[in-house]
């Protein structure tokens, strides 16, 4: 065999990567590149210009919007982490059964449409919303508080929207922390406070950082919550892009703003990578690499952190010592640790904050009133009738189901084989390829949406279901690849080798051994992809071109006119649908564990 053929051999085994790379190249890389290039050209020509960027940087407006965007994202990240940490900690340290039960209440909001959850907050926070009504009924306030159409509303809505993401990210790191480490600390003489702050907390920091990064980047591209729950002062950068494209058709300027957003995101990534390394994103707990700590800055930071954490630990322990003086813990019978009790209560309240609001949408959907008000006036099915009798709503629903199924199927078809290769073959440039496949997750979605709009406009895919399916597949592929890779990493490859040694061809091995064993993982990947598309608004907003609306797009259009009880009815139906899907997934998962 020639040297070249030898060198190419691993690549022959890597052919399943080709469809996914081609697909993302055409439907993702090319359009995004085109859009960004557009920002440097004079309108309608191929003459280079900096005019769009000049406008961007000379106008005070865009700078202010950028600052607002960064500020809002930073606060939202802060709240999502601070609120999410106790829940993640409880989930990671409690018994398996309790974790599974609690996890459902975190997953439910995670999977529920942003739109539905935002509507729920309108029901709760509005002038005539539930909270204001209760406050007045209790006599705590005379006039309604302004909880909505301002910073408070945006913050509540966005923290609520992103906290589940923070929790799931942190849990994935915390689960990998050896439970014996805090135990070891206890036997070495550390009280609860020291054991937590000096041992557990530092080890969970990569999870906190990864969660912070994901929440921050996702928040940067938010527009649903600020648009529906914020006021004019909470306009975020994505809303600017939407206005530029939808109302002014100013592609080039939209491209420039997109570039600004992208660069901001990349800068955040750069600093994250410098500080912690990207591998923490994959849920690995990394501590400083190699031997000792050589970098002096890192050493000083570690030293300060050490003192700080030690101090917090001591304060916690001082509290517990005082508490034990007052309520001694006897050695002859079991007493509950008060710190666990506090944790339980706090986590319970936060999970309540995450799971409960959505259900307020349900009673509102049965109101007889023509608008959303608390308490709803019972009882009427008119809003459900309005939904089921409306050809527009029905068409949107059917389209969403079709598009979600097709795009999830497409993502599985080209994503899952790629995951196999990425896990099992040793090929050059694997990390780079993985980074490329995952980049649709990292690049703000609005940029993909606008880029696809521009691209589709020229190839005639605007307003078609095909266009939606292709676009949603771009977003679903990273989820599919990550999920299938995670499943395959835990799969014992010797099973396949055993099948091979027993005479099975690779294809039959795949069909009879591998796929049945990883079926629940594949189902999860499909559901992930399905929901990603089913809940997707950004791409639909542009690509559907006002013709082929999907359910979220229809809800958005309706909400912009007026948030009305039909939306509550649709939301309730969605909520029931999502709950069934989650319970089904959970049931399948538990069954596959028992087997």
């Amino acid at each position: 065999m020639s040297a070249l053929a030898q060198r190419l051999r691993p690549w022959r085994a890597a052919w399943p990567l080709i469809p996914v790379l081609l697909f993302l190249g055409v439907v993702f890389l090319y359009p995004v590149g085109q859009l960004l290039m557009l920002s440097g050209l004079e309108k309608g020509t191929s003459v280079l210009t900096l005019a769009h960027y000049e406008r961007l940087f000379t106008s005070n407006l865009y700078f202010r919007v950028l600052v607002i965007t960064l500020e809002t994202s930073a606060w939202c990240t802060f709240f999502a982490i601070v609120g999410g940490y106790p829940v993640a900690y409880l989930l990671a340290t409690t018994s398996e059964r309790r974790r599974n039960n609690l996890m459902i209440w975190v997953l439910l909001p995670f999977w529920t449409s942003f739109l539905v959850r935002t509507f729920a907050w309108i029901v709760l926070l509005g002038r005539n919303g539930a909270i204001n009504k209760w406050l007045q009924a209790l006599g705590l306030t005379d006039a309604p508080l302004a909880l909505i159409y301002n910073f408070t509303g945006v913050m509540i809505g966005m923290s609520h929207a992103l906290m589940p993401l923070a929790i799931l990210t942190m849990v994935s790191v915390m689960e990998n922390i050896d439970a014996n480490l805090p135990r070891a600390a206890a036997t070495l003489g550390a009280r609860g406070g020291q054991a937590f702050w000096r041992i557990y907390f530092p080890l969970s920091l990569p999870g906190v950082a990864a969660a912070g990064l994901l929440v921050f980047i996702t928040a940067l591209g938010f527009f649903i919550t600020p648009a529906l729950l914020g006021g004019r002062l909470q306009t975020m950068i994505t809303q600017i892009i939407i206005t530029q494209v939808q109302e002014l058709l100013n592609w080039a300027f939209a491209g420039a703003v997109s570039m600004l957003l992208l660069v901001t995101a990349l800068i955040v990534f750069y600093f994250y990578d410098r500080a912690l390394g990207m591998s923490t994103l994959a849920g690995e707990t990394t501590t400083s690499q190699g031997g000792g700590r050589r970098n002096p800055i890192a050493a000083i930071a570690a030293w300060i952190g050490d003192i700080l954490l030690g101090l917090i630990g001591r304060i916690c322990d001082a509290v517990s010592i005082v508490y034990e003086r007052l309520v001694p813990r006897p050695a002859d019978r079991l007493t509950r640790q008060w710190s666990r009790t506090v944790l339980g209560v706090v986590a319970f309240l936060i999970i309540g904050f995450l799971a409960a609001p959505t259900f307020f949408i349900v009673p509102v959907s049965f109101t007889t009133d023509a608008f959303i008000e608390w308490p709803p006036k019972f009882y009427s099915m008119r809003w459900y009738d309005a939904y089921f009798d409306s050809p527009i709503w029905m068409a949107a629903t059917v389209r969403s189901l079709v598009v979600a199924t097709a795009s999830a199927g497409l993502a599985m078809l080209i994503g899952a084989p790629a995951a196999f290769v990425l896990v099992r073959q040793r090929i050059m440039g694997k990390t780079a390829m993985l980074a490329f496949i995952l980049s649709p997750l990292i690049i703000p979605r609005i940029i993909i949406a606008v880029a696809l709009f521009y691209f589709y406009a020229r190839v005639g895919l605007i307003g078609t279901s095909i266009g939606l399916i292709l676009g949603h597949a771009v977003l679903a592929i990273p989820y599919v690849v990550v999920t299938v890779m995670a499943v395959l990493k835990n799969y014992d490859e010797r099973l396949d080798q055993a099948a091979g040694s027993l005479g099975a061809t690779p294809l039959r091995t795949l069909w009879h051994i591998t796929i049945p064993l990883i079926r629940s993982g594949l189902v999860a990947a499909f559901l992930f992809a399905f929901i990603t598309s089913f809940d997707e608004l950004t791409i639909a907003l542009f690509v559907s071109g006002g013709l082929a609306t999907t359910l979220p797009k229809q809800m958005w259009d309706d909400a912009l006119l007026k948030v009305n009880p039909t939306l509550a009815a649709v939301s309730t139906i969605l909520l029931v649908f999502i709950t069934i899907v989650i319970l089904l997934a959970e049931y399948l998962r538990r069954r596959s564990v028992v087997r």
């Binding site: 480490l181 036997t187 070495l188 550390a190 009280r191 041992i199 080890l203 400083s288 813990r329 050695a331």
Partner: protein, 361 residues
Amino acid sequence: MTNAKHKLTVRDLRKTYGPVVALTEAAFDLEEGEFLTLLGPSGSGKTTMLMIIAGLIQPDRGEVWIDGKLATFAPSYKRDIGMVFQNYALFPHMTVYENIAFPLRMRNMATDKIRQEVGRVLDIVRLPQVADRLPRALSGGQQQRIALARCMVYRPSIILMDEPLGALDKKLRDQMQLEIKQLHTELGITALYVTHDQEEAMIMSDRICLMNEARIEQLGTPADLYFKPRTVFAAGFLGESNLLEATVEAVVGDRTTVKTPDGALVRAPTADGIAVGQAVKLMVRPERLALLGPADSADNVVEGTLDQVIMVGGVTKYYARVAGDRAVSATRLTLGPISGLERGQRVRLGWSADSTVLLTA
């Protein structure tokens, strides 16, 4: 209190996980300076016992006394015990120095003193050069020694070790066994050690606590357990054993006579609670069985057919069928090439009355 004399006393411990009984009716005393090993197959409740003593798991019932003080539900950090975990549980984000200094810092020791103490134990485990490394940059054996150093540095009154050598390869394990044993003797540590390896237990322990199915099967010195096992399980777990069914014929003073199914009479030392007519098992170690020549005699003799002769280097093993077709083996030193023995040949096997053990359970 009678418990005051002992370093550690556990009484009637029980722990269940739902329907699973992890530990029950566990009781023993540990003396100052003693090396006691919990030995038993995987899942026999060894870790559970250790965790309860360390205060990391709460028992359903029973008591733990440490240094004469009741500590059943006392928090770990107040127990003054040290524990070496099976996977070492070194803090991955701290250097070796910081790991070892941790318990001292928790005791608010002055920095100078800490440096001195950490240096001292690093010398003891012969790893002074790794202080600034992170645990992951150490080999398995080095990590093991650092875990030991971290545990010794604050001079806990008892050191608990849960299969501390389980993750090491055979050669390193043999070496570490001797090192730990030596440290124990030199420093006068009181140690409670866990292993599932009977050889390791025999090498290291003053006493062995044999565990099986969540219970203590037998507790005694290695010699006790080897020469006077009280149960079939104990006989089988430590070393090899030949077991034959038998019925008690007569009990006269310190000698008991039993009869095997094929009618041979076997004499043995009288065991507790033996009554005439009772069905028992008689146990003889293979190395106590001799192949008798036509002129030889022994206290106990059975006849059988030779099955196989296998030379295993320094020893040769003889497998025979006796008394109702049961297989027994005899192990003799290999003194020269074997000749004149063939498969199917009738042989006489003999052993002394004193090397016979009667088992009722």
